[in-house]
Amino acid sequence: MSNLVEIRWHGRGGQGAKTASLLLADAAFNTGKYIQGFPEYGPERMGAPITAYNRISNTPITVHSNIYEPDYVVVVDDSLLDCVPVTAGLKSTGAIIINTTQDDSTLKSKLKDFDGDIYTIDARKVSLETLGKYFPNTPMLAAIVKVSKIMSEEAFLADMQGSFKHKFAKKPEVIEGNMKALEMALQNVKKIN
C-alpha cells in the first residue's frame, strides 16, 4: 500500500475545494492511476468549513471511509487554521499547503504541533493576476501537484488544458487565464521550514 497517496482538502463552501479534489482525481486518472475523489457532505452553505478527499494509487482502492491520516493537507482558506484542526492525523513525513499571506513565523507557531513540511502560496494574488477574480481552487490544484509530485508538471498542464477545453466549452475565453493560473501557481509555491 506504500504507493497510496491520501490528500485532505479544507476549504469554505463556495471556494471550489470539492471541484479541485475532483479535478485532481481527473488529472491523476488521466495519467493511469486509480483514484477516489469525494467530498464530505454536511450542512453546506456559503462560507462554512468543508472537507474533501483524494486517494491516488497505482493499484485498485477498496477502502471507503474518510481519510484520517493524510499524506498531504491543502488549506484553501487560511482562516481555517484558527478554527479547524487541519493537521489532525497528518503524517510527519507529509506536508501541508496553505493559501495565505501570513508571515512564516506566525504560520509556524500556529502549526507548531506539526513536524512535516509547510508550503505556502498566495492563491489570491495568482488568481487576481491571471483570472481577474478570486478563484483559489485552480492555484491550489497546481500547488498540490507540485508538492506531492503525483505527476509531472508537464503532464499535469497538458491534461488540464484538455479538461478546461471540455469544462469551459461554452466559455473558451477563460481557458487561457486558468492555464496561466496553474503555471504561475507552480512557480509561486514556497516551502517555509
Binding site: A25, F29, I35, F38, P60, T62, H64
Partner: protein, 393 residues
C-alpha cells in the same frame, strides 16, 4: 475492449440507464439519488435516449407510473432514496404482486427521523419482504454491472419480479472512482428487448391487471410470487455467468474474500465490504486468518449457500447498517443466524449495528471487530451478541 472511465456511483447508474435505453423512466428527485434522474433527463433532452421521461410530483406517482408503463408492456426504471422509497411503499408491493419487472436504483440513505440525508440501509431493510429482488453493490462498478444485469433477471419468464440495485448514498454515489464500462452495442445486445407475454396494450389478448383477489386465489398468487423468488437464485447465477463471458467480471450470490481458509469472518454489504477487504489484507500480513462474505443478493436470500461457506469458521460478525429496533438484532444478522441454524451450522456469531445516519466506518472500526472475533474464537464466549460499532457512549 472495455472503456476505462472515472465516474461517481450515480453517474455510473445513469450511464447504465442510458445504455439500456428503457421505454419509460419516472422519478422524483431525492438526495442522494437526485443526480440519476438529473443526468438521465439530460440524455432525454439531448436525444441520446428515446425514453419517455415522466417528471412526476411524488415518489408514489413515480412508482405508479412505472407500474402503469410495465403493465402496458413497456420497460420502466426509476431511482430513489430513503423517504422517497417510504412514499412508494404502497405501490412497491403492488409492483411485485402484479409481477412487473420494474428496475429501481436505490441509493441507500437513512429513513427519517430525525431528518438525515446520509447513508445507512434503513430504507432497503424496510422493503426487504416486499417481493423485490435486492442486489447490493460495493462500489460504482458493481452498481453499474448490477444495473446492466437487472432486466435480464427481472424479466426472465421464471422470475417476473421487480428488482432494486442498492448502493451506499454519498459513500459511493458521490465518490469519483475508476470504472470499466461496456460498449453501448454490447450492452444493447446483452440486455435485449423486452417481450412481455401478457400486457395491456396487446389488443389480441384483452386482460385485466390487478383486479380484486379474495379468499379463493390470493394465497395461490402469493405462493407463485414466493416460487418466483426461489427460482430467481438460479436465474441470477445464469445471467451473471453470461455477464462474466461479456466482461470477465465474476458475480455470484455473494462474494467470498479470503474466506475459504479463514478462521474469523465478517459478513456485510455494500461499501463497507471494500474497507473490510483492505483490513483483511493487512491482517493477513501479520498472520491473522481473517475473511469476508459480502452479500450481493439479499433477496432472494441465499440461506443454504451461505451456511455452507461458514461451517469451518471459529467466529463470525454480521454487520448491519440498520437497526431493526426489535431487541434481537439487525435484519442481516437474523437472516444469517436463521440460515445457519436451519442448515446445522454452529459457529459463534455476533451482530454489530454500525454506520447509522452516515457515521463513517473506519478501517480501525473493522480492525476492532476482528479483534473481538479473535477473542470469541479463543474463549468461545459471547457475552452479548447484539453490539454496536462506532457508537459514542
Amino acid at each position: 475492449m472495455s472503456i476505462r472511465e472515472r465516474l461517481s456511483g450515480n453517474e455510473a447508474v445513469a450511464v447504465a440507464m442510458k445504455q439500456i435505453n428503457p421505454d419509460v423512466v419516472a422519478a422524483f428527485p431525492i438526495t442522494p439519488s437526485t443526480e440519476i434522474p438529473q443526468y438521465f433527463s439530460t440524455f432525454v433532452s439531448n436525444g441520446t435516449v428515446d425514453t419517455e421521461f415522466v417528471a412526476v410530483e411524488s415518489e408514489h406517482s413515480a412508482m405508479s407510473a412505472c407500474i402503469g408503463a410495465e403493465a402496458a408492456g413497456a420497460r420502466a426504471m426509476t431511482a430513489t432514496s430513503a423517504n422517497g422509497l417510504s412514499l412508494m411503499w404502497e405501490m412497491i408491493y403492488i409492483a411485485s404482486s402484479l409481477r412487473l419487472p420494474i428496475v429501481m436504483s436505490l441509493v441507500n440513505r437513512a429513513v427519517s427521523g430525525p431528518l438525515n440525508i446520509h447513508n445507512d440501509h434503513s430504507d432497503a431493510m424496510g422493503v426487504r419482504d416486499s417481493g423485490w429482488i435486492m442486489l447490493f453493490s460495493e462500489n460504482n462498478q458493481e452498481a453499474y454491472d448490477n444495473t446492466l444485469m437487472a432486466h435480464r433477471i427481472a424479466e426472465h419468464k421464471d422470475v417476473l419480479l421487480p428488482l432494486m440495485v442498492c448502493q451506499d448514498g454519498f459513500i459511493t454515489s458521490h465518490s469519483i472512482e475508476n470504472i470499466e464500462l461496456v460498449e453501448d452495442d454490447k450492452v444493447k445486445e446483452f440486455v435485449g428487448t423486452y417481450k412481455p407475454s401478457h400486457y395491456l396494450l396487446n389488443n389480441k389478448e384483452p386482460i385485466a391487471v390487478g383486479p380484486l383477489d379474495l379468499q379463493a386465489y390470493l394465497f395461490e398468487h402469493k405462493y407463485q410470487q414466493a416460487e418466483a423468488m426461489r427460482k430467481a437464485k438460479e436465474v441470477i447465477l445464469e445471467v451473471s455467468k453470461d455477464f462474466e463471458k461479456l466482461t470477465g467480471r465474476k458475480y455470484e450470490l455473494f462474494e467470498k474474500y479470503k474466506l475459504d481458509d479463514a478462521e474469523i469472518a465478517i459478513i456485510c454489504m455494500n461499501s463497507t465490504a471494500g474497507t473490510t477487504k483492505s483490513v483483511i489484507d493487512k491482517l493477513r500480513e501479520s498472520g491473522v486468518k481473517a475473511g469476508l462474505l459480502k452479500i450481493r443478493v439479499f433477496r432472494p436470500f441465499p440461506a443454504e449457500e451461505i451456511a455452507k461457506e461458514l461451517s469451518h469458521l471459529k467466529a463470525i460478525a454480521v454487520l448491519d447498517k440498520a437497526d431493526s429496533l426489535n431487541a434481537v438484532g439487525g435484519a442481516l444478522f437474523t437472516d444469517i443466524t436463521s440460515a445457519m441454524f436451519v442448515n446445522s451450522c454452529n459457529v459463534p456469531t455476533v451482530n454489530y449495528i454500525y454506520g447509522i445516519g452516515g457515521r463513517d466506518t473506519k478501517e480501525s472500526d473493522i480492525e476492532s471487530v476482528f479483534v473481538d472475533l479473535q477473542n470469541i474464537a479463543n474463549t468461545g464466549k459471547i457475552d452479548n451478541p447484539y453490539r454496536y460499532l462506532g457508537l459514542r457512549k
